[in-house]
């Protein structure tokens, strides 16, 4: 109405005409009826229905960066298609009224910023948010906040990295930063602690360092030439960690250390000097380096075999040079072979080399050779090689005499056996140069070989050698393992092995039918029993009894052959070796029975008879042998000392 002041408003939906109702009074002024029509309002979203009241708002978090102000953020809600207004109300602990947020903008959208005036510590704020739109409003749950416990500072600023030199010349990285600008650390209102992290640009893991309240830090262990990234963050003393600051970079220079270069130069010079000296020395001595590194392949050559003769076709001369008459080699060749089968364990102990030295058992010369056959020398396997290779080893073949069982073998066999103790760790059979260290196999082998008739010497030699070379490794292994325990067994084993081989060649030879063989050697030991030969092969004796002086009554080993003596092998009896404790009266050996001796075998009468007969037959020879034997014996104190019982059989005369 014109005179009126108020507009009559009518909202129209989907209508294009509207009946106006007027009272009669106002009708007169219809001509001057002001009419306004607002432009139609377009609804976004096609809802024919009206908007909805907003959802329930929710406070996300409140934070104080310096314990003097704080801000709160909330999550916007579904507004139901209508613009939503948010209002934040808070209530201070101890006050009744609610206040509205003083600042909605400073902290960003959907936030409320409380400045210093509106911030109180050690009080609980009760904060609620109200979302309002045209249709309605919604209030969030109350949120209780105490500013004291929501402190999270801004990250530190001005992180600077600089390389400095320490007093001792070492390079280190100096890191400097400052506290975030708003934090009041100087007055002590806020106490900040810092944390650094570093990593090389290519690296994956950060190295984090807690620094405390200082604002600088020195880093020492850095890799020269690398590019490093660094960041820093801080935390209020009872609050939360800030975000990491922006990255700072530094590129470390590659270090050239004079000291390193000097070291390399020095090393190069020194090595070159040494090389020169070595070459000069070799030149002086005339050593042909080339020949040493690449030795010329030797042409096949048999010593004594003249190639020219061969060409000339003069076989006789050729073969005579070898010392053999005709082929196959005869017993003369034994000398040749024997010559190189010398076992020498010490200078003074001249075990009779060959037939040169006067040995009481001259007649046993062949026996020497025979015994030699058992000296398992790997390098002397074949006769042809003997000549060349057997120079080194000097075997006193004389030691291996006394092939005959009936003839006492005092000799050197005992001595050598004495000397050959199981203590020798060196298993190279060919090499007997080590003092006093010989395998105890030798006595056994000597004995064994002594059993071989002369005629078959070569064969046996070959065979034994082959066998020994074959089992060289085994023996070594076995010796190694069993040295301490069963030396005698080894000797016996080898002996029996050779014996076994011999029997293959010569049937009728008798030898130990029974020998204790180690498992490894069993294959070499055919458990054959052959009739006892009339050759009276050398044999082991078994301890029959011990008289008061410690002298042993020994019995020849049992043989199957009943011809000789009725000695029966006692199954399961171990060969017994005695330990020499001392020599008495220059010809009596005081023996100590071996601890592992299984007790004295008690033989039946037949053995006794044989023993007696043995003694008698050997009396003469035993005497002589006994006399000489002690001088040759070398008693060794301590350790195991085994000797051929035959050698001291005279002791109980």
């Amino acid at each position: 109405v014109q005179s009126g002041s108020k507009w009559a408003t009518a909202a129209q939906h989907h209508a294009y005409f509207y009946p106006l109702l007027f009272s009669s009074e106002s009708f007169s002024n219809l001509s001057t009826l002001p009419l306004e029509m607002s432009s139609p309002k377009l609804n976004t979203g096609f809802q024919e229905r009206s908007g909805q009241p907003p959802g329930k708002p929710e406070l996300i978090k409140c934070r104080s960066p310096e314990k003097e102000t704080f801000s709160c953020w909330w999550k916007p809600v579904s507004d139901g298609g209508l613009p939503t207004n948010y209002t934040l109300f808070y209530n201070n602990e101890g006050e009744e009224s609610f206040y509205e947020c003083p600042d909605y903008t400073t902290a960003g959208p959907n936030s409320c910023y409380f400045d210093k005036k509106h911030t109180s510590l050690w009080t609980i704020y009760n904060i609620t948010i109200k979302a309002t739109n045209e249709m309605g409003s919604n209030i969030s749950e109350p949120h209780y906040v105490d500013v004291t416990y929501i402190v999270q500072p801004n990250p530190p600023v001005n992180l600077s990295l600089a390389l400095n030199k320490h007093t001792d010349g070492k390079l280190y990285l100096l890191m400097n930063w400052s506290s975030p600008p708003l934090a009041d650390v100087r007055s002590g209102w806020l106490t900040l602690e810092y944390e650094l992290r570093l990593k090389p640009e290519e690296g994956e893991e950060w190295e984090t360092i807690f620094v405390g309240q200082r604002t600088k830090y020195k880093v020492f262990s850095l890799i020269p030439g690398e590019k490093y990234i660094a960041q820093v963050r801080c935390k209020s003393d009872h609050g939360e960690w800030s975000k990491w600051s922006s990255e700072s970079y530094i590129h470390l220079p590659k270090e050239f250390r004079l000291k390193d270069m000097m070291v390399w130069v020095f090393v190069a010079v020194l090595s070159s000097v040494i090389c020169l000296i070595m070459i000069w020395m070799m030149g002086l001595k005339g050593i042909n380096m080339v020949a040493c590194i690449l030795p010329p392949v030797p042409g096949p050559k048999i010593k004594g075999l003249d190639a020219h003769l061969l060409e000339a076709g003069k076989n006789e001369e050729l073969l005579s040079a070898l010392g053999c008459q005709g082929f196959p080699p005869t017993s003369d060749c034994e000398d040749l072979l024997v010559e190189f089968l010398e076992i020498d364990d010490s200078e003074d102990q001249q075990l009779m080399p060959n037939h040169e030295k006067g040995h009481p058992n001259k007649n046993l010369k062949s026996g020497n050779k025979e015994t030699d056959s058992d000296s398992g020398r790997g390098s002397c396997d074949s006769p042809s090689l003997l000549l060349e290779k057997c120079k080194e080893s000097r075997i006193p073949p004389a030691e291996f005499q006394t092939p005959d069982f009936s003839e006492t073998q005092v000799k050197a066999a005992g001595k050598s056996s004495q000397e050959t103790q199981n203590r020798d760790p060196e298993l190279k059979l060919p090499d007997f140069n080590s003092d006093g260290v010989k395998s105890s196999t030798w006595p056994g082998t000597q004995l064994a070989s002594s059993q071989i008739p002369k005629g078959s010497y070569h064969n046996i030699v070959e065979v034994c050698k082959v066998a020994f070379s074959a089992m060289n490794v085994n023996v070594s292994a076995i010796r190694m393992g069993n040295e301490e325990k069963h030396p005698s067994k080894y000797s016996k084993n080898i002996e029996t092995i050779c014996e076994g081989e011999m029997t293959q060649r010569r049937k009728g030879e008798s030898f130990h039918s029974k020998a204790k063989a180690d498992q490894a050697l069993q294959w070499l030991l055919p458990n054959e029993k052959s009739p006892f030969l009339s050759d009276k092969p050398m044999d082991y004796v078994e301890i029959h009894k011990v008289n008061q002086n410690g002298a042993l009554a020994v019995l020849p080993k049992q043989k199957e052959n009943s011809d000789k003596t009725e000695i029966y092998p006692i199954p399961g009896t171990t060969k017994e070796y005695a330990k020499v404790t001392r020599v008495v009266d220059n010809n009596v050996l005081v023996l100590m029975p071996e601890s592992r001796v299984q007790g004295m075998p008690v033989f039946q009468e037949p053995p006794k008879e044989s023993a007696q007969s043995l003694h008698q037959s050997q009396a003469e020879k035993n005497m002589s042998y006994c006399l000489t034997a002690p001088s040759e014996f070398r008693l060794q104190t301590g350790g195991l000392e085994y000797m051929d019982p035959n050698s001291f059989m005279c002791s109980f005369k």
Partner: protein, 229 residues
């Protein structure tokens, strides 16, 4: 006879030790660096403040942890916080509420306030230790923390008395104190009410220990480092 002699010797030894303990008045103490009264040998004020700040920091950490544990375990969904408004017994002491107020107050008054709050907590802490054990299935961590806080609070009080003695030998004058009367509520038969009483006490302890820590750090920077920490 030998056994009797040995027994007698043992007994004598025990008597000696016990008497020694009683004579020295304290169980085991380290001998002080500076005996009381000698002027030439004195711990510096800076060191005294350092120790005090360390103690207050530690006490607040313990209180905070204790409150969080209790809240997690016993107070979930019970709406205790809504009721814990204006419920601390030390609220009668007007303490600065923000930095400006804290910087304007004189250090003497601030020290006085600190002493008052510390003294006011002596009694409640004692009863907290004894009563917290009666909570159903109270975890050990809460128990030993209560004991630790009570002990450290006494030490802090001693340290503060030394500091006050150095700064103001004549004493501070107006001694502040708030009496605590919450013991009956800790012993209520109703479990819910009792738990709320504990919640309230722990909440107030957390707040007050933070106050003390903050004030002491302020004082240290102001007095020792001349506001240039």
């Amino acid at each position: 006879m030998s056994t009797a002699g040995a027994t007698l010797a043992g007994l004598l030894l025990v008597i000696l030790l016990v008497s020694n303990m009683f004579l020295s008045k304290k169980g085991v103490t380290s001998s002080p660096i500076c005996p009381n009264g000698s002027i030439s040998c004195q711990v510096s004020l800076g060191d005294l403040f350092d120790r005090a700040v360390k103690l207050s920091h530690y006490i607040h950490s313990l209180s905070s942890e204790m409150f969080n544990e209790f809240d997690e375990r016993y107070a979930q969904g019970r709406g205790f916080i809504t009721k814990a408004i204006n419920s601390c017994h030390t609220s009668s002491l007007t303490t600065p509420e923000d930095k400006e107020q804290a910087q304007q107050i004189h250090h003497e008054d601030l020290l006085n306030l600190v002493m008052g709050v510390l003294n006011s907590w002596n009694d409640p802490l004692l009863h907290l230790v004894s009563e917290v054990q009666t909570i159903k299935e109270a975890p050990d961590t809460i128990l030993w923390k209560a004991v630790e806080i009570e002990e450290q609070n006494k030490r802090l009080l001693e340290g503060m008395e030394k500091i006050v003695g150095r700064l103001h030998p004549g004493g501070l004058g107006n001694e502040l104190y708030s009496r605590w009367s919450g013991l009956p509520s800790l012993q209520l038969p109703d479990e819910d009410s009792r738990l709320f009483a504990f919640y309230n006490l722990l909440h107030c302890l957390r707040r007050d220990s933070h106050k003390i820590d903050n004030y002491l750090k302020l004082l240290k920077c102001r007095l020792i480092h001349d506001s240039n920490c």
